[in-house]
Every structure is written in structure tokens, then in C-alpha cells.
């Protein structure tokens, strides 16, 4: 039998249905793989082994009785940003020390209601702020991929998995779980997917409930899956998405069966290629891959159209006003009084100041301060209001594009995974990682990253598809064509087992 952890989510689902193995065996295999890899990869911040085995045993009963639900017995990783009742939920920040929520997020509840098994909580950039997973209080996550020299020799450099959902991406790529939950505020699902050879979906704003997901920038945050294949991502999203009365921005629209879109052809589909995405500093191999993607879709019968999204270059600077502004407001709740870390002071204000000084890391402080500055008296119009106006223009660019195209194809990132420490000293260089993904958040659109090739050094590269609001089916339909043409990119060199 194939090693259980190598299976895709869809294969594992079929294997359980066909009684080839039990949910308990499957869960045990993942727990031991994660335990073995975690000292090297640091993908999980806590394992919930007993809980997982209890869930798996329930699933085995359901399977035996022929009462299996959609995700019955399938082991998942859950990003530390999702509230899980009685289990470590700290957004990988020191300030939430010891926090165990007395409630469950809507998305994770949906997953448990469908029979899924929680293996543990995955590592992430602190409060989802970062593009390399180096800002976590629990230390950096390591990408299971390594670079190789011309002679095929493996480099010892530790590569970043991208961020902020780096632990989820690393865990999926290294076969430590079948799939994982993630969140995307400026690229935090799609960028790590591209850097780890996994599939990541950022749904339309409002498709998945934000209730019980620790807030970063509320008008941009959206949860989605990280998975091994396009099909697995489609299965995951079907169960994550729902209408939730507890989130006022959650949209009341039926959730389609995304698996059905996978088999639809793309003949006659109009694919837009935005010229503004040929950004300065884009790796030549990334440009070549983009062209390859265009050729693949053309050969399947799609037509290619150059389009213009003129305000693209302003999306990232506008994001770095809007996101920190909303973050400074959202993170005001961490005061050392109601939950988490408390460092006493002589008076109440000093208690706040001490707790927040000790509890937040450097990047989070930087963003809170930027946000506080742009919202402070006299600056609101010049910064926040201006950025929200630019955001309207970015959305209008897309609205106009949809008149002539059905889907947009771009690279996910300008370049492949970089080494730890390479960009962490320069905030602006790190921010540029999201240059091709952030427009999608600013306009509230759905996007997917599909692995499509390898760099000269053997590390994965991803292509991004962008669709109209609530047309996730289009992403799965076209994404599947890319996966069919490119093949899959599983990690074969498991250096952490040596």
C-alpha cells in the first residue's frame, strides 16, 4: 500500500470509503509524520494527538455504519489564527499567552461537522503579518523544499515557506496533514502556496465566515484552504464556506459543489493577461512560466487577451495604509486585562504599555504604529481616505476587465522561495513579496495559486488565477487545467528524515 501520508485528500477519502485503511490508522500515520518532522520544519505549534485519535475513532464508527460525512476521518492542520475551543489559539503571538478560547470558529466548526480530524495548530507569522513566517513568536517555519546546485547538490540553506500561512503550507507540502486552513489578507494563502508547491485558494470576501478568526484587517481578511491538489482545495472550500449570521459581511449565497467544476473544459474561455503585472525584478523563469501557462490554456481552447489594470502599482502602498490602520484598531483589544500576557505597571496605562511592549513582536509594533499614525488627528484624509479612494479605482480596473475576459492569469510571486534572513531586515523588500497578490484582496476577489513549474534551483513556482466575485468555480475549472498540464509537485527529497 502507498504510504498513507502521501495520499491526497480525495484519495484518502476514497480509501476510507473502500475500507482500505481506517481513520485511526490514517490519523496515527500523520501524527507520527508530524512528530518526526516538526523539530526540523516547525510547522505545528501544538499537536492535539488525543483529540485527533478520539475524532478518528468517532469517524471509524460512522464509516462502519455507512454514515460518513463529506470529510469523514480526514486529518487537517488548523492555522493558529482560528479559535478552537479549549485549544491553543494565539495567532502565534506572545501577547495571547495561554489563551484557550471557550468557543469554536465557524469555519472549524463546519469542518468538524463534516467529520474532519484536527491534528494540531499550525505556525504562522504573528497576527498574520509577514510574508516569510519569520515573525512567529514560536520561531520561523522551514520550507520542506531545498535548493539544488548545478551538480545536483542539495543546498543547506533553510528556505522560508512564505507567509503568513507558512506552517499550514509547510505541513501540507511535507505530507504532515492532508490539507490545512489558512487566511489571506494580502497574499497569505497564495504566496506560501506558490513557495511550497501547494494549491492555495483565497475566496471572495464574504464567502467564508470570519467569526472566530483572529482579526488582522477586517475589510481584507478572508480564510481559505491550502491543499495538495486543485481537487482537494475544491473539496475543502465546499465545507469551509457557509453563510454565517454571526459575521455581518458573510454573504447569503448557496455554496456550490466545487468538485463539479473540475471536469468542465475551457474551450472559448477568455483569459486576461494584465500587462502591469510584468513588474520590475520579476525573475526570468517566472516570466517564462507565465508564458507557459498562457500556452497551456491556449492549447485547451481558451483565447488570450492582453488587458490593462492601470492602478496595479498603487495597490501595495494603499494596502500598507488600509491594513495597518485596521490592524491598529483591531489589536487595541490586547490590553493585558481580559486575556493573554500581562506585565504589571504602576498604573493602568503603564500596565497596557508594558504588556503590549512585551507581547507584540517588532513587525506587529511597526504596523500598529503606522496604523496609529495614519489614523491620527489631521492625517486621516491624507492617508486612510486617500487609500480607500485608490482602492475604489483598483476595483474599477477589475470591473472593466470583466467586460472582456472571464478569468485573469498572472504569476503568484515575482520569484521563488528565499532563504531565512534574506529579507527580514528590510520591511519594504518583504512587503514587495505581495505585489502580485494584494490587488485581489483590495478588490475582494477570489484567487487561486497553482504550482506550475520549478525554478533553475529546483524550487516551486506558482501561477495565479483571478476570477469575478463568487466565481470560485472558474478558479477550480481553469486551475485543474493548469495542474493537468504541469503535473503535481510533491516533495520527494525528505531531508528531515535523514
Amino acid at each position: 500500500m502507498t504510504e498513507l501520508t502521501r495520499l491526497t485528500l480525495a484519495e484518502a477519502r476514497d480509501g476510507l470509503a473502500g475500507k482500505k485503511f481506517s481513520a485511526s490508522e490514517l490519523t496515527k500515520a500523520f501524527l507520527s509524520a508530524a512528530e518526526r518532522a516538526n523539530p526540523d520544519l516547525n510547522a505545528f505549534v501544538t499537536m492535539t494527538a488525543d483529540h485527533a485519535m478520539a475524532q478518528a475513532s468517532d469517524s471509524d464508527e460512522k464509516l462502519a455504519k455507512g454514515e460518513a460525512r463529506g470529510l469523514e476521518g480526514l486529518p487537517l492542520g488548523i492555522k493558529d489564527l482560528f479559535a478552537t475551543k479549549g485549544v491553543h489559539t494565539q495567532a502565534c503571538s506572545h501577547i495571547l499567552d495561554g489563551f484557550k478560547p471557550p468557543y469554536e470558529s465557524t469555519i472549524t466548526q463546519n469542518l468538524w461537522d463534516a467529520g474532519a480530524v484536527m491534528l494540531g495548530k499550525t505556525n504562522m507569522d504573528e497576527f498574520a503579518m509577514g510574508s516569510s513566517n519569520e515573525t512567529s513568536y514560536y520561531g520561523p517555519v522551514v520550507n520542506p523544499w531545498r535548493r539544488y546546485g548545478e551538480n545536483g547538490e542539495r543546498s543547506q540553506d533553510k528556505l522560508v515557506p512564505g507567509g503568513s500561512s507558512g506552517g499550514s503550507a509547510s505541513a501540507v507540502a511535507a505530507d504532515l496533514c492532508l490539507a490545512a486552513t489558512a487566511t489571506d489578507t494580502g497574499g497569505s494563502i497564495r504566496q506560501p502556496a506558490a513557495l511550497t508547491g501547494t494549491v492555495g485558494v483565497k475566496p471572495t470576501y464574504g464567502r467564508c465566515s470570519r467569526w472566530g478568526v483572529v482579526a488582522f484587517a477586517s475589510s481584507l481578511d478572508q480564510a481559505g484552504p491550502l491543499a495538495k491538489t486543485v481537487k482537494d482545495a475544491a473539496i475543502m472550500l465546499k465545507y469551509m464556506a457557509s453563510h454565517d449570521p454571526k459575521d455581518t459581511t458573510s454573504v447569503n449565497q448557496p455554496v456550490p459543489d466545487y468538485e463539479l467544476s473540475l471536469k468542465q473544459g475551457i474551450k472559448g474561455l477568455r483569459v486576461g493577461v494584465p500587462k502591469e503585472y510584468r513588474v520590475e525584478g520579476m525573475a526570468t523563469e517566472t516570466e517564462a512560466l507565465w508564458q507557459q501557462g498562457i500556452d497551456w490554456l491556449k492549447s485547451e481552447g481558451a483565447t488570450i487577451h492582453e488587458i490593462s489594470l492601470p492602478h496595479t502599482k498603487y495597490a501595495l502602498p494603499a494596502y500598507y495604509i488600509v491594513a495597518p490602520a485596521e490592524a491598529s484598531s483591531n489589536l487595541a483589544r490586547y490590553d493585558g486585562v481580559r486575556y493573554g500576557l500581562r506585565i504589571p505597571g504602576d498604573n493602568l496605562i503603564e500596565t497596557y504599555e508594558n504588556s503590549r511592549a512585551a507581547g507584540f513582536g517588532a513587525e506587529v509594533k511597526r504596523r500598529i504604529l503606522i496604523g496609529t499614525y495614519v489614523l491620527s488627528a489631521g492625517y486621516y484624509d491624507a492617508y486612510y481616505l486617500k487609500a480607500q479612494k485608490v482602492r475604489t479605482l483598483i476595483k474599477q480596473d477589475f470591473d472593466q476587465a470583466w467586460a472582456s475576459v472571464d478569468v485573469i492569469l498572472t504569476p503568484t510571486t515575482p520569484s521563488p522561495a528565499f532563504a531565512q534572513g534574506e529579507k527580514s531586515g528590510d520591511p519594504l523588500a518583504m512587503y514587495l513579496e505581495d505585489i502580485l497578490t494584494v490587488t485581489v484582496n483590495m478588490a475582494g476577489l477570489p484567487g487561486i495559486s497553482v504550482p506550475a513549474g520549478l525554478s533553475a534551483q529546483g524550487t516551486p513556482l506558482g501561477l495565479q488565477l483571478i476570477a469575478k466575485p463568487f466565481d470560485e468555480e472558474m478558479l477550480f475549472r481553469v486551475g485543474q487545467r493548469i495542474e493537468d498540464a504541469a503535473g503535481r509537485f510533491p516533495v520527494t527529497d525528505r531531508w528531515w528524515l535523514e
Binding site: G98, F99, K100, P101, P102, Y103, T204, Y205, G206, S219, P245, T248, T249, V251, Y314, P317, A318, Y320, I321, A332, D335, G336, V337, R338, Y339, G340, R342, P344, G345, D346, N347, I349, E350, T351, Y352, E353, R356, A357, K365, R366, I368, L369, I370, T372, Y373, S376, Y383, K386, A387, Q388, K389, V390, R391, T392, K395, P427, L428, M442, G444, P469
Partner: protein
């Protein structure tokens, strides 16, 4: 936009984050760098452009005005670092 050290300290005070002298110096150049970079937005003509308030056009939801949750004082104070019965404990604020 050049941010001076006094401004960094004022902002940190507003954000209720204590910063050291070394942090103040570092933040001064980091914040100036970021604010200079976002300055490029001034190139964009936004006359007669409405600021974005929501990305997906949905009507504000309404629901029946009744209590749907609550009566969970134990849950609410459960994670508090310092508590007494069902109260959060803070340093004395009224003399």
C-alpha cells in the same frame, strides 16, 4: 514624510506601546521609509472618487431584536490574567 523621534514617541503613546530609546531610533527611519513609499499615492487623481466602504455590495443585515447569547460570566473571565469572582482586576484608576 520624515518622522521625527518626538512623533514616534507620541504615536507609541497613543498606541499604548512602551518603546526603548533604541527602538525609537530604529522606528524613526523605518516609519519614515514606509511613509515615503506610500507617498506615491499622491500621483493618483482621486477627485470625485468615492472611498471604498465595502468590496461586495450587500445590504446591511437585520435580525430580530432579541438576546441570542450571553449569561457566560465564567467563560468571559476564564482567560483573564488577573480576576476576582466575575471581575477583571486592574490597578486603581480612581483616587
Amino acid at each position: 514624510m520624515q518622522v521625527d523621534e518626538a512623533t514616534v514617541r507620541r504615536i507609541a503613546r497613543l498606541a499604548r506601546i512602551k518603546i526603548t530609546d533604541a527602538e525609537a531610533t530604529g522606528l524613526q527611519s523605518e516609519l519614515s521609509g514606509i511613509l515615503n513609499w506610500v507617498e506615491q499615492l499622491s500621483e493618483v487623481n482621486t477627485d470625485n472618487v468615492e472611498p471604498m466602504t465595502r468590496v461586495v455590495p450587500i445590504d446591511l443585515k437585520q435580525r430580530e431584536d432579541r438576546v441570542t447569547d450571553g449569561d457566560k460570566p465564567d467563560d468571559i473571565v476564564k482567560n483573564a490574567p488577573l480576576r476576582e469572582n466575575h471581575f477583571f482586576v486592574v490597578p486603581k484608576v480612581i483616587e
